[in-house]
Symmetry: C2
Subunit: 502 residues, 2 copies
């Protein structure tokens, strides 16, 4: 039977520096050389529904229809750690009955067919959801609609009108050829799609400068089973909710986003990089909240993440010098901050900081789209990596950080598994920032322990007055944490083809 | 019987310069000294519904309930020219049966009562709607819910959490006392409310710098008849549609906006003003679309508006010198551009332009909230002023402008009334801008001719690919021009208490 890769990206190996390897070996009691899993799972035996195939063939060209088990499996999971751990353990999700790849012109007929047959449909973009957006409860036939052939492309007046199926990296490359940028750079850039950015209400790594996806989106075309809503291409309007307004954060429930009109702008001419070590996380928070002009990228690692970064970047950090400076400055919980901007004036040396020069920021940028592959190396060694992110106002930031770390440790000790948690702040606003927690566990009860950790962290976010996600969308995994009146309001917009009854 | 003022603001008189007066006299064939109307209408005799009064008294303190005809009339119309012309002609709108002014704590009980009695409710903020938002078709009892007592106020981390009933000017003054600004400055500043800004999806005059209301709004509290949706106070989140997302542009249909969390920031320290005369409108468009940093205010008047401005600002413009310079430069259709910003570097002299110094921009800013009162002077003399605004991408701007002027003239000639139209561009984006048309007519068939002109202009907006409004909301008057699938989608969110069935 064929196998399917269930880890992020196509890169088979991500180099980790020996010092970081030793740190991981020590935390988890493993030997790095012991590879326990290759990241693939077997494709199960799945019968084909010939009637469905026949019916779809009446609507779409044959090459736009797949009923083979491999395609169906690939289009039935995202990259949440819960899903990957499940697949690894042989717990498969519900698998769709077919995958279709319509062009824009096919959608009207396809949706009429789905509507008449009451076939539940999942919209599939880049497949990089980390919150279970592709999971569903089977009620009958279900198909996946891939946006892969939705590739409209035209540019007018600093607006790129693009098909939702464009992958970020491809689109950016195409825009760059005309000297333009879309200004949206999520870590998933190489795999995620424009439609996915809108559907999850994503934020890119340079959102401080370019804004998040809602700030970049002029309009959208949303194909619903009750009609097409096509936004006017104009700089702004106030004629009530637009297609883009409900498409943003819709997670596929309100219809298919087929086109998005994105703001584009000239590529910056210059680029400046700086990194510093600060006394501690609180000093970093204090520095960030007082920033006058916020750099495009400003990223503060907590002491734990800084420790790992120092171990994993020995060459680029001039590590011995840095460690001696940290000692001489008396920094007991040193924290790394990196900054990148197109304007040198926006990069201001923090008070009482150790300058690391350009290199850590340059390295960070060089690896920005590959870093998720670091997690793959953990998966292969029996460790489950995961992340959760939220946002907080400045007043709440330090307490949110410390309580989240405590909650992780409480659960770890209670349930008796090995693990670590570290954090960074990025996506900075005058009001507060996004805070990102990266954690990893190794356990004999992987899914249960992972679920318990996630539950504790998410409940802590809510207790601290923060949302469950800053830029990933709640998906199916975090929906239960969203306030119920809000969910009820959202449900009013659901398209019966694309939504499950709650 | 008492009378009620149906014109904007409280200012009884707005001084117009003699040269501008002569221009208006000549266009309309009137004598400025002949006042035909004082701007007031009689309050009709309206019986009180004692049962309703009794029932409301069980829910609210007596001083929060008004059934007197004057209050009821005041809360039953907005300031669209269609409404004012109707009132002037004795065609009264549907008048509400009661006005209530709940505090936040009263809303739960009030809405339960309205729901149980199926009483239709209109939410009343500043009453400055120019698109008939307060008009409704009577189906039974209807009350107006004034937001006047919703005055929460607290500030944390550059977020002001404020009741929706705050009037713009009052709120800004209060924020200014702490050195802060909300950055939202609509022309209606002194009368419109925060709730109204959100409900109409407004844009302030300095939106180039501060963004429009959607860019300033962190969250909202929306009280619906099926529950309260209270957004988390955090810098950003992606947990699907929030209360603020549906509140923006909701025009009172989806529930009562009781609180809004607005971004606030430090008041600017400096302020720079410049004005120039350009060769023609196209040169101005070309200048604006190529702007690198867009000033907070950049406002380009077309030749018609410039002519009126020159006449109406003789002193401040040093008019003789300007006219001679215009002649010597050979500008046949000279256009005024004013710019205001907190950063001098963003104000760049346009090529081939005549500098007018600071004064026209300073004057514009000084009168920014009083200028609507100029229209009052026309109303009093039998002339109907009106405005319509839209937005367009740069490629479409010149044609949208010229065709709209032609459409106005076509209707004017066809129907045989006197009138003028003039225009300016403001709210500038990299993608295009808002374009604002101010027109006035004098006719024996006021409402019919006004409706015909509006119809022609709005249809032209749509033909040219533009929306029906950039920042006023479609209200009831322009809703029919909004695309029907979009209206159907919007209808899914309607709260039965606050919405009419379409």
């Amino acid at each position: 039977m064929p196998a399917v890769r269930v880890l992020y990206g196509t890169r088979d190996k991500y180099e980790i520096h020996p010092a970081a390897v030793r740190e991981i070996e020590s935390i988890f009691g493993i030997r790095w050389s012991d590879i326990l899993w290759d990241g693939n799972v077997q494709v199960p035996d799945l019968p084909e529904d010939n009637k469905l195939k026949e019916d779809l063939s009446g609507i779409l060209d044959r090459d736009k229809i797949s009923l083979d088990p491999e395609s169906r499996l690939i289009h039935s999971f995202g990259l949440s750690s819960i899903e990957i751990a499940g697949l690894k353990a042989g717990r498969y999700p519900e698998i769709v009955d077919a995958v279709v790849e319509p062009e824009a012109k096919d959608l009207h007929g396809l949706i009429a067919f789905l509507k008449s047959r009451k076939i539940h449909s999942i919209i599939y973009g880049g497949g990089t959801s980390v919150n279970g957006s592709l999971l569903y409860k089977r009620k009958g036939l279900t198909i996946a609609i891939s946006t892969d052939r939705l590739k409209e492309y035209r540019v007018v007046d600093n607006i790129a009108i693009v098909g939702s199926g464009w992958k970020g990296g491809e689109l950016e490359k195409k825009l760059n050829e005309s000297g333009l940028t879309a200004g949206h750079f999520p870590e998933s850039m190489l795999a995620s799609t424009v439609g996915g950015w809108v559907a999850t209400k994503a934020a890119g790594q340079e959102s401080n400068y370019y804004g998040s996806i809602e700030d970049r989106t002029i309009g959208a075309v949303l194909v619903r089973s009750d009609g097409i809503i096509r936004d006017t291409i104009s700089p702004r309007e106030s004629s009530g909710l637009m297609a883009k307004d409900i498409a943003l954060g819709s997670e596929g429930r309100y219809g298919v986003i087929t086109e998005v009109a994105l703001k584009v702008q000239s590529l910056p001419k210059k680029r400046f990089y700086r990194a510093f070590i600060l006394k501690d996380f609180e000093s970093g928070i204090d520095y960030m909240r007082k920033l006058d002009g916020i750099p495009a990228v400003v990223r503060l690692s907590d002491a734990e993440e800084t420790g790992f970064a120092l171990n994993n970047n020995e060459e680029s950090f001039g590590i011995r010098y840095v460690r001696s400076r940290i000692r001489s400055m008396g920094f007991e919980k040193p924290c790394l901050i990196i900054m990148i901007d197109n304007d040198q004036d926006r990069i201001v040396k923090p008070p009482r900081s150790i300058s690391l020069g350009r290199s850590p920021a340059v390295t960070w940028e060089r690896d920005r789209y590959e870093r998720p592959c670091l997690g793959n190396e953990l998966w292969k060694r029996g460790i489950i990596p995961d992340t959760l992110e939220t946002s907080a106002i400045w007043d709440n930031m330090a307490i949110l950080h410390s309580t989240t770390l405590s909650e992780f440790d409480r659960i770890r000790v209670e349930r008796g598994f090995r693990g670590f948690i570290m954090s960074h702040i990025s996506h900075v606003y005058d009001q507060g920032a996004c805070i990102y927690f990266t954690f990893a566990i190794m356990s004999g009860n992987e899914i249960e322990d992972l679920s318990a950790v996630r539950e504790a962290i998410l409940n802590n976010f809510i207790t601290q007055g923060s949302p469950v996600t800053h830029h990933h969308g709640p998906g199916t995994l975090m929906r239960k944490y969203v306030e119920k009146n809000r969910i009820a309001m959202q449900a009013l917009l659901m398209d019966p083809i694309f939504s499950e009854v709650e």
